[in-house]
């Protein structure tokens, strides 16, 4: 419970480049590393993706922004088992389970006729069904308020999404659905060691807290300055030690407020009856702020003090950079999280199609800041 909101967590959709009909749904806080695992470049791939006949896999779509690994796993399971999940009302369910006939149950006494038995099995989803289920899951009550976004890495898939998504029903406003149009690096690209090619696709994803560095620095500057700071909403004095304080991430805005006050304000701003706001306007700078970013910084600040210090100081924590992450240092130097996915890839599902990648729920996010981050950061675009 005391874990900060992960910097990045996504549920992704893999597609076999050799057998495009083969799909795989998984979740990971580090797509690049996970994809390497799936493709057998590193250890820890899923059993369902171990066949060389299907490799390499490409990550064509992902839903990201999960505030916790548990949330991601729940969404992943619901996505994989859209025909079973209780999150989807039956009337809205797109995919129906299929019956797999089992051996009839015989009466040991031989008197009664055998009882036919069936096992409900999830069907083999098509790409369209998977996409439709994404749309559906983002609309169901259980997930509609989650700070999720969708990103496509294949134009053809995005076209299918556009074609498959219901016309009359739209997603919540805060959900971004976008196509990553950055061209994947080609082999021909001049590999200049000093100037690696810009990361594209999943490689461009920021799976680290680096983006929060400024925010953390600002919050520390504001809250630990020793000066009295008034809540931007209730105008009462903020005592970070006594209350949860949110700080506007925008530079130049010194607004800070009680979380409760700001949430109330945001909710009053038009989020309906939701308990958790999705976004709102800063009481001071009036900029539209995402609740997620505010809370993420808060959680990190309040629950991962050491990591925050490391992030701010630019020092990598001693414990948090795994070897695997170092492997990714070239493209994703910021990979900090231990990948819960690794090693937990035995797919229990009976269906060959969409394989679920189950990660340990109790995954702990190890936050760390690589010592070389600065140098790496310089190489990173933006």
């Amino acid at each position: 419970m005391d874990k900060p909101i992960p910097a990045f967590y996504c549920c992704y959709l893999l597609r076999s480049t050799k057998m495009p009909a083969s799909l795989y749904i998984g979740s990971t806080p580090n797509p690049v590393r996970r994809l390497k695992q799936h493709n057998g470049k590193t250890q820890g791939g899923a059993f369902r993706t171990h066949k060389d006949t299907h490799r390499p896999w490409e990550m064509i779509c992902m839903v990201y922004g999960f505030p916790s690994n548990i949330a991601a796993l729940q969404f992943e399971w619901a996505w994989q088992n859209s025909c079973f999940t209780h999150h989807i009302p039956d009337e809205e369910r797109i995919t129906k389970p299929t019956r797999r006939k089992l051996r009839p149950k015989l009466d040991p006494k031989g008197i009664e006729p055998p009882v036919e038995r069936w096992k409900l099995v999830r069907p083999r989803y098509t790409i369209v069904q998977v996409l439709q289920n994404i749309h559906l899951l983002l609309r169901v009550k259980s997930f509609q308020q989650w700070p999720l976004h969708v990103k496509f890495f294949a134009s053809d898939v995005f076209k299918k999404w556009e074609k498959a998504k219901p016309k009359k029903i739209s997603l919540r406003d805060g959900i971004r659905v976008e196509l990553d149009e950055s061209k994947p690096p080609t082999d021909e690209v001049t590999t200049d060691e000093t100037c690696p090619p810009p990361a594209t696709g999943i490689h461009a994803l920021d799976v680290e807290y680096t983006a929060l560095k400024s925010h953390l620095q600002k919050s520390r500057f504001i809250l630990e300055n020793g000066t009295m700071v008034a809540c931007g909403v209730c105008e009462r004095s903020l005592r970070p030690s006594k209350a949860l304080v949110l700080v506007c991430p925008l530079e130049g805005c010194r607004s800070a407020s009680h979380m409760a006050c700001l949430s109330t304000k945001f909710l009053a701003g038009g989020n309906g009856n939701a308990l958790v706001p999705t976004n709102g306007k800063c009481p001071e700078c009036k900029a539209t702020l995402e609740w997620t970013s505010l809370v993420k910084e808060l959680s990190l600040r309040t629950r991962a003090i050491e990591e925050v210090e490391a992030i701010i100081t630019g020092k990598r924590s001693k414990t948090n950079l795994s070897e695997a992450e170092e492997d990714f240092a070239e493209l994703v130097p910021m990979a900090i999280h231990g990948d819960k996915d690794s090693g937990s890839d035995d797919d229990v599902s009976d269906d060959g199609w969409i394989l679920q990648e189950v990660g340990g729920i109790a995954e702990e996010f190890e936050l760390g800041f690589p010592a070389e981050d600065d140098a790496v950061l310089t190489t990173r675009p933006g």
Binding site: I70, V115, F143, Q144, K242, M259, L275
Partner: protein, 987 residues
């Protein structure tokens, strides 16, 4: 010791030696024996040969004797034939010590002092053996013989049997040794026989007197020999016992046989003790001469008896294995006795030897002389053979389980073959044994049990003499089969039968369907009915035409034949092509047949007459079956599965042999339902036929009408008629399709169907048939038996063989016109009821239906409950969402803000996207006083806030309950709050 005396008998020198210095020689000889075979112990046991002398006195010696005897037995069997003859010759020449053992005795007597002379001349091993025998060594060879006939044989044979050894060797494969043991074995066997002969000698008269004479000589000689041995034995008796025990311990391979012989010896000695004692006394220093004088006649026999007795033990083993052979030869009684005496272990121990012994025994029988004694025993055995038959009977009875019956139908050859092969005597027991199975085939018989039997017997006799016997057998079984069936009706068995029947029966196409067995049955019934209708129609037409026909019986016969032939006739049509020309007017062709049917009907009206008719029909069928059925059978079998049945029917009609019976049974089953159908047409045909004669279409209607009453009315000829009717239907169909050109050919074919029913009669094996027949027999009595017909239909149902018919019928129908039979579907229920031959089965069917129905109901109830639950849950959820959720929301939101950032409030946790642990939140909410209310009186739980609860509209008693995690979960999911159960407590 038996072995030793015998060996001595084979070689008198041995005997002398045994008397002279048994102990000295024994040690080397046993070692040799051991070296020769693992049966060295046996040899020690053979050393027991002296023991048998003791055995006469004491049990242990007897065991040793037995061992030796066993060994000798194997040898005896082999060499017995030859040696005994030779010995007998010698004995005849030299009465006192004539026989081969006598030879030995002679030798012993002659060269008792000068053993080495002949023995040494013969072979040194013999000497060794002899010496061994006298002491302990002799027993080992005997044991070896017992343990391994071949091994034992060579030693003794080498000495004594220069003549005989070859043939015995041939059996045991060991030339010389087996020979000696053979001699020994002969002596031993003789001894055994002698024991048996004591009781059995009286009965033994029947066989060869010569043998008896020889026997006496031998016995005398043996007695002498025994006397010679006895002294040794006496001297050795205690020693031998000890030695025997030691030997037994030493004899690893032969350990098992050793004890058993002892026991046997103990048993035997009691009978032989007198002789043994005498021999012992004789052998005992001073008494020998006196007793030698007397014993030569009496004692010798006794001694031999003792010796023989141990051999009997070996023989016992022999008997176990050889019993079949013995039964043939007449040795079975011994085997039985031995069996009784010998323990199972003993049998196992000697099993190896027994094989050789069995062969030997056969040879002995062939040779005859040695067999004489043996044969005497065998004579005694002959009466004892009955137990064998009894055993077989018992086995057969055991076999009469439902499963066996059901499966037996498919595997007809075994029982039927036996029954068929056996003569009337066999049939008698068989009837008892196979009453259940047999009944089915007797449907016609059952229907007309008294009359048909008479009529059938003569008629059937005309075609095949064996048939009447079979028929008789079937008759007896009928009564028994019923009982068996009743026994069989136990619920579990019945259920099994049900399942099996459903599974087994039905055409491939039917089985291929996924439809429930009930549907298939109904379909089958409908098809049958339709077929029956078609047949009935045809029969009616024929009847109308036939009414004019002069010879009713002949016509009947023709009809039946035609109908029955229909099965086979279909093939015939293909082959003969007589039927090929499918003239649209089956009437022309069938009229004759129809006329026969009509006649039958008339007879049926008379009551007894129909039975006769049926019988006559059967006879004719049989006859025809001989002529035509075989080809038709072949054809039919080749062409269709049903054809096989037809073939079987035909064959039984002719021979009433094994495999076919089953088929017949099947036919019977088929016939039974059809009979019910067909019968009415027959009986009704008389009245109806006239009415309906002109129009075919009207026939169908009339047939249906008539059939219904007929079923009740005429049950007498139902079975036969039914079968015939079925056949007729088929024939009619064929006729319709092919419009058989040659009516005479049809007639024989019709006879063939008759043959089928007789086969059914003959086939006693199938219990279901019996039950049907039994039922059918009451049917003859008249309508009162209607209940019975119902039962037979059950059988039919149970026996899905009808399906096969249906298939054929369906096939035949397709060309014709299935519509008319379908019209009878209305009758289907009645038919269905009769189709069920086995009431228990029917009950089971009902039970199954009930079970299914119950299941469905239960499922419905479950579904309803689920639906109700779902609705209630929905209502509850709606109520919760309406009442409880806002309360939870307000409670969560209203909670005070945390003052410790490390311990945020629940709402703050929610705001920070913390996964909510439901148990904790639920506990907190409950602690906050959040409650939900349940109105007990209503089905649906009214969940209301505490404040609202008071205002329950319907005086509902509102119960305040704490929140459940599930409710909180619903609330969380309602608000897009990530929630989870505490790890490990997920539902």
């Amino acid at each position: 010791m038996d072995a030793s005396p015998r060996r001595h008998s084979t070689s008198p020198s041995h005997q002398q030696r045994a008397a002279m210095s048994p102990p000295s020689s024994p040690l080397p000889s046993p070692s040799e024996f051991f070296s020769k075979k693992g049966g060295g112990a046996l040899r020690s046991g053979s050393k027991a040969a002296p023991v048998p002398d003791r055995a006469f006195t004491g049990s242990a010696t007897a065991g040793s004797l037995i061992k030796s005897r066993q060994l000798s037995l194997a040898a005896e069997d082999l060499a017995g034939e030859e040696k005994p003859k030779r010995q007998r010759k010698q004995l005849s020449e030299v009465d006192a010590n004539a026989n081969a053992p006598k030879k030995a005795s002679k030798r012993s007597a002659k060269a008792s002092e000068t053993k080495p002379g002949p023995d040494v001349v013969a072979k040194k091993p013999r000497k060794r053996k002899e010496t061994i025998d006298t002491t302990t060594p002799n027993p080992p060879p005997s044991k070896s013989d017992a343990g391994v006939a071949t091994t034992s044989a060579p030693s003794a044979n080498a000495l004594e049997k220069a003549d005989a050894p070859v043939p015995p060797k041939s059996k045991p494969t060991k030339p010389r040794k087996p020979r000696v043991p053979k001699e020994k074995a002969e002596a031993q066997t003789k001894l055994k026989k002698g024991k048996i002969t004591k009781p059995g000698t009286v009965s033994a008269k029947s066989k060869e007197i010569e043998f008896t004479q020889e026997y006496n000589f031998e016995s005398k000689t043996t007695g002498v020999k025994s006397a010679h041995f006895h002294p040794n034995k006496e001297d050795m008796a205690p020693k031998m016992d000890d030695t025997l025990l030691l030997d037994a311990g030493e004899m690893i391979n032969l350990e098992i046989p050793v004890p058993s012989p002892r026991v046997r010896d103990t048993v035997l000695p009691a009978t032989v003790k007198g002789t043994g004692n005498d021999a012992m006394d004789k052998i005992a220093i001073g008494e020998k001469p006196t007793r030698v004088d007397e014993p030569l006649s009496l004692d010798a026999a006794v001694k031999r008896r003792t010796d023989w007795t141990p051999t009997k033990d070996t023989e016992i083993i022999m008997l176990d294995e050889v019993t079949p052979v013995n039964s043939k030869v007449g040795d079975s009684p011994e085997a039985h006795k031995k069996l009784a005496f010998t323990s199972i272990i003993a049998t196992y121990a000697y099993a190896n030897t027994s094989e050789a012994v069995t062969t030997e025994a056969v040879t002995r029988k062939v040779s005859g002389e040695a067999l004489t004694k043996r044969r005497r025993i065998e004579l005694v055995d002959i009466p004892s053979q009955h137990p064998n038959t009894e055993v077989t009977k018992a086995l057969r009875k055991k076999a009469t389980t439902i499963t066996d019956l059901v499966t037996g139908q498919y595997k007809p050859n075994g029982l039927d073959d036996v029954a068929a092969g056996a003569t009337s005597n066999f049939f008698g027991p068989r009837a008892g044994v196979l009453p259940v199975a047999g009944a089915i085939g007797n449907n016609a018989k059952a229907l007309l049990a008294p009359k048909p039997a008479r009529k059938r017997a003569p008629r059937e006799k005309s075609p095949t003499k064996a048939d009447p016997k079979t028929k008789k057998g079937t008759k007896q079984p009928k009564s028994q089969p019923k009982l068996v069936a009743d026994k069989l009706l136990s619920p579990s068995t019945a259920a099994r039968k049900w399942n099996k029947q459903e599974i087994l029966f039905g055409t491939s196409s039917q089985l291929a369907r996924d439809e429930s067995p009930q549907l298939i049955r109904q379909i089958q019934l409908a098809i049958r009915e339709s077929e029956a209708e078609a047949e009935a129609n045809a029969s009616i037409h024929q009847a109308t035409e036939s009414v004019v026909s002069d010879s009713i019986r002949s016509k009947k016969l023709s009809k039946f034949t035609a109908s029955r032939t229909l099965w086979s006739a279909a093939a015939r049509d293909d082959d003969n092509q007589f039927w090929n020309p499918p003239a649209p007017s089956p009437r022309n062709v069938h009229p004759e047949i129809d006329g026969s049917f009509v006649d039958i009907d008339t007879f049926n009206d008379d009551g007894d007459a129909p039975a006769e008719m049926t019988d006559s029909e059967f006879h004719s069928i049989e006859q025809f079956g001989e002529f035509k059925e075989f080809p038709s059978e072949q054809q039919g079998s080749g062409s269709l599965p049903t054809g096989d049945f037809c073939n079987s029917k035909d064959s039984p009609a002719e021979k009433q042999d094994s495999g076919f019976h089953y088929i017949e049974e099947f036919h019977d089953f088929k016939d039974v339902p059809r009979r019910a159908e067909s019968k009415p047409p027959h009986t009704a045909s008389n009245s109806i036929i006239q009415l309906d004669g002109p129009a075919d279409e009207s026939r169908f209607l009339d047939i249906e009408d008539f059939q219904r009453p007929q079923v009740g009315e005429n049950q007498q000829g139902d079975s036969a008629l039914a079968a015939s009717s079925h056949i007729k239907l088929l024939e009619n169909r064929e006729a319709h399709a092919t419009k058989s050109q040659a009516s005479p050919s049809k007639i024989p074919t019709a006879k063939k169907p008759r043959g089928r029913p007789p086969k059914s009669k003959t086939t006693i094996t199938i219990p279901t048939k019996k039950t049907k027949r039994a039922k059918s027999s009451p049917k003859k009595k008249t309508q009162a038996s209607r209940a019975l017909p119902s039962t037979p239909p059950r059988k039919k149902k149970t026996l899905d063989f009808v399906h096969i018919d249906e298939i054929q019928d369906s096939e035949a129908e397709s060309p014709l016109s299935p519509s008319p039979p379908r019209n009878r579907k209305a009758n289907a229920p009645t038919l269905s009821s009769p189709l069920q031959l086995r009431p228990s089965l029917a009950v089971k069917e009902i039970d199954l239906e009930q079970v299914k129905h119950d299941r469905e109901v239960a499922e419905k109830l479950k579904a309803e409950k689920l639906a109700a639950k779902v609705e209630a849950a929905k209502l509850a959820e709606a109520a919760m969402r309406r009442d409880l959720f806002p309360k939870i929301t307000t409670t969560v939101k209203g909670a005070p803000r945390t003052t410790d950032p490390s311990k945020p409030s629940w709402y703050e946790k929610i705001l920070m996207y913390d996964p909510i642990v439901l148990e904790d939140l639920t506990a907190w909410l409950n602690a906050q006083g959040v409650r939900w209310f349940v109105t007990i009186k209503r089905k649906g739980r009214g969940k209301k806030k505490a404040g609202e609860a008071a205002g329950a509209e319907d005086d509902m008693e509102v119960v305040e309950k704490e929140l459940e995690a599930k409710m909180v979960q619903n609330w969380c999911e309602e608000n897009s709050i990530c929630c989870t159960y505490r790890e490990g407590t997920r539902h």
